[in-house]
């Protein structure tokens, strides 16, 4: 573990650009994921003027520098011109948001194309993600077709980058799915975490163990013993727990832990390391929750080590 920690000591800073035309929903999604807004509250957001920078500490060690770029045409024109060098240099991730209901597809495509060109010049190894947002406004039976059509068009434009597309909405778990995926790609210790979590799952006789980042409740890693038919379950749980946490906050309290049991399973959600929560699930009826909690306590220090949080972060 030792060398690992030394390597990660200088906090890794990642520049993430959040772009797209005005009203696409960029500030809304950022506010929900990182600033504990509830979806309904986003209606009050005004248009973003120029760029709003936020520094987000994720899992203790990872520093996201998120640039929410206001999307009115005047701003976009200036990003692509006067501010070009400043914005597109040293980008690790570009998240481009399209309003799936937008009628001005041509202009959407025009700006996207230009953004990609600039990115290609300045940060050719950045990762590109496209979000087709507000799918809740598309009737359910049309969603898949509309999404595929849009995705096809984007994939043509985006060369030489490869792109991963998501259909998202602030009203359901699709938002968590997309953001978990995008942020996980930035975590250096991910494969180590996956391995350790599998071992923990095995030792504690669990059927499924999931690791969440504590503040955002984005899924970081999971270990699953039996296949499960619902592939979106982790994002659903993120959404469920995050909603409940907000409800607790409204009551001037905060969520601490959950234990749920019926004749089918036992589930426990607890704070784990300083920056994570863990979900433990077992289908065994003879499993003792006190034993599970003890196991969780015991595993803590190992995971703190992997995440590089076992010492007070040194300040420079």
């Amino acid at each position: 573990m030792e060398p690992d920690r030394i390597l990660s000591k200088p906090r890794s800073r990642r520049k993430v650009l959040l772009m797209g035309r005005s009203g696409a929903g960029k500030t809304s999604m950022r506010s929900i994921i990182f600033a504990n807004y509830i979806p309904r509250e986003t209606r009050r957001l005004g248009a973003t003027i120029d760029i709003e920078h936020s520094q987000i500490r994720f899992l203790g060690d990872l520093m996201l520098s998120l640039w929410d770029c206001g999307g009115q045409d005047v701003f976009l024109d200036s990003y692509l011109d006067a501010q070009r060098d400043n914005i597109f240099s040293e980008v690790q991730v570009l998240i481009y948001v399209f309003d799936i209901m937008s009628t001005d597809v041509e202009r959407d495509g025009y700006y996207f194309n230009r953004v990609i060109r600039c990115l290609c010049d300045a940060s050719a190894d950045a990762k590109v993600y496209c979000l087709f947002h507000k799918v809740d406004l598309v009737p359910e039976h049309q969603r898949q077709t509309v999404f595929e059509e849009r995705q096809r068009r984007v994939k043509e434009t985006v060369k030489p980058f490869s792109v991963k597309c998501f259909a998202t909405s602030i009203w359901d778990e699709t938002l968590y799915k997309a953001w978990s995926f995008m942020i996980c790609g930035l975590i250096p210790q991910l494969s180590k975490l996956d391995g350790a979590l599998s071992r923990f799952c095995e030792i504690s006789e669990g059927d499924e163990v999931v690791l969440f980042e504590r503040a955002t409740f984005l899924v970081i890693s999971h270990a699953t013993l039996h296949s499960h038919s619902d592939v979106h379950r982790f994002e659903k749980i993120s959404n469920i727990v995050k909603r409940f946490k907000l409800s607790c906050n409204k009551n001037q309290s905060h969520f601490h832990s959950l234990e749920l049991r019926n004749s089918q399973f036992l589930a426990i959600i607890e704070n784990f390391t300083s920056y994570t929560c863990v979900l433990y699930v077992s289908y065994r009826s003879d499993i003792q929750s006190t034993a599970v909690k003890l196991n969780i306590q015991c595993a803590k220090s190992l995971f703190e080590k992997i995440l590089g949080n076992d010492m007070e972060p040194s300040r420079v």
Binding site: D136, R233, C248, L258
Partner: protein, 363 residues
């Protein structure tokens, strides 16, 4: 053992008429509470052109027939059959949905007091409820002044025509489907209508007193309406927190029970479709087939949530699609689990007696 079937109470189903102008939110209200449509999905609801009866068969204390009435019925020259009078004469409550965002407030108010008078004449014992709706767009101050204005107007009109005694028969509630207010308002209507409310309240008071806990709520598990609470004061959003807890428990069990939630989602898609179909005819359908049904029949089901301020929420399914949620201080509960568990059992037994007794009365 606790039943797998939901028995009905002796009173049979409670009829509630839902009225209001077009687009006021009638269909949204019952779809959100009883059919588990999420609030933003109501955007897709089509206008209800006909009388639609929705049958709600949840717990024994939540057996309802909701009559979603088209606005034409409210016009005094309407010749539709059945008429508004025909319907309210079999109803225990009239629920008038008043849209605060309406562009014709004067007309709406006019219609409101006319409707109240007509309903009173058709059925003098009816409870009348005005849901001042879509309040999510208003500030707290605006909400109160809205309510005051409407109430003063209607009271004045009623007094002018000598119907002073009707004034106290009308309740006003501020509601929105985008927050918890709609559940609180509908719970209060429900508690007003079912005859066992005070008995259940006394039972909960006894339970709370003997267990050393702060509050206890009896929920209709599927709709998350409160059937009864103990009489100690409820703090701030505690009620909302308890109902959110039930939702968390349902959602997580939906995912991990049988490790299979695919059936779950298909079920709910299916039921959405039925709603749309039933809006074209006088029709009824039953919600108890919803997949969360199995969750609440599992009497071994419980959930505990601990909060940062030392409070603990504990939920236990007590059968008949009912669940008991209690709030207590952690240190008190942790040294008393045995006693509380015993009291929960006694409570469930009493509850079962109340339910079977009222069933026997009916037969």
């Amino acid at each position: 053992s606790q039943s797998n079937r939901t028995p009905r109470l002796s009173t049979g189903k409670c009829n509630i008429a839902l009225t209001g102008l077009a687009r006021s939110g009638k269909t949204s209200i019952h779809s959100v509470i009883f059919h588990k449509i999420s609030p933003h999905e109501t955007l897709f609801l089509e206008s209800t052109g006909r009388i639609v009866k929705h049958v709600v068969s949840h717990s024994p204390f939540c057996q309802l027939e909701l009559w979603d009435l088209p606005p034409e019925l409210l016009q005094s020259d309407s010749e539709s059959s059945p008429s508004l009078e025909d319907i309210v004469s079999i109803c225990s409550a009239l629920l008038f949905v008043l849209d605060t965002t309406t562009e014709t407030p004067d007309e709406t108010l006019q219609l409101l007091h006319q409707t109240i008078v007509r309903c009173y004449n058709a059925n003098p014992n009816i409870h009348m409820e005005v849901f001042i709706h879509k309040t999510d767009v208003l500030s707290d101050e605006q909400k109160l002044s809205f309510q005051r204005e409407i109430q003063e107007h209607v009271d004045g009109e009623l007094r002018d025509i000598g119907l002073d005694r009707v004034v106290s028969q009308v309740s006003y509630r501020l509601t929105s489907i985008f927050d918890h207010s709609i559940y609180e308002a509908f719970s209060q209507v429900l508690q007003k209508l079912h005859p066992q409310t005070s008995l259940l309240e006394r039972l909960l008071d006894t339970f709370v007193g003997y267990s050393g806990i702060e509050n206890a709520f009896l929920f209709d598990a599927v709709s998350k309406l409160v059937v009864a609470t103990d009489s100690s004061p409820v703090h701030g959003n505690d009620f909302e927190l308890c109902s959110d807890m039930i939702e968390v428990a349902i959602d997580i069990s939906g995912i991990y029970s049988f490790g299979n939630s695919r059936n779950h989602t298909e079920d709910s898609v299916e039921s959405n479709r039925i709603v749309e179909e039933s809006s074209s005819s006088l029709d009824h359908w039953n919600i108890s087939s919803l997949s969360c049904g199995y969750f609440f029949q599992d009497s071994s089901c419980w959930c505990t949530i601990r909060l940062g301020n030392g409070m603990v929420l504990h939920m236990k399914c007590v059968g008949y699609y009912l669940c008991l949620v209690l709030m207590a201080r952690g240190e008190i509960l942790d040294s008393n689990w045995g006693l509380v568990g015993y009291n929960v059992r006694v409570f469930s037994e009493c509850l079962a007696k109340i339910i079977t007794k009222s069933m026997r009365c009916r037969d």
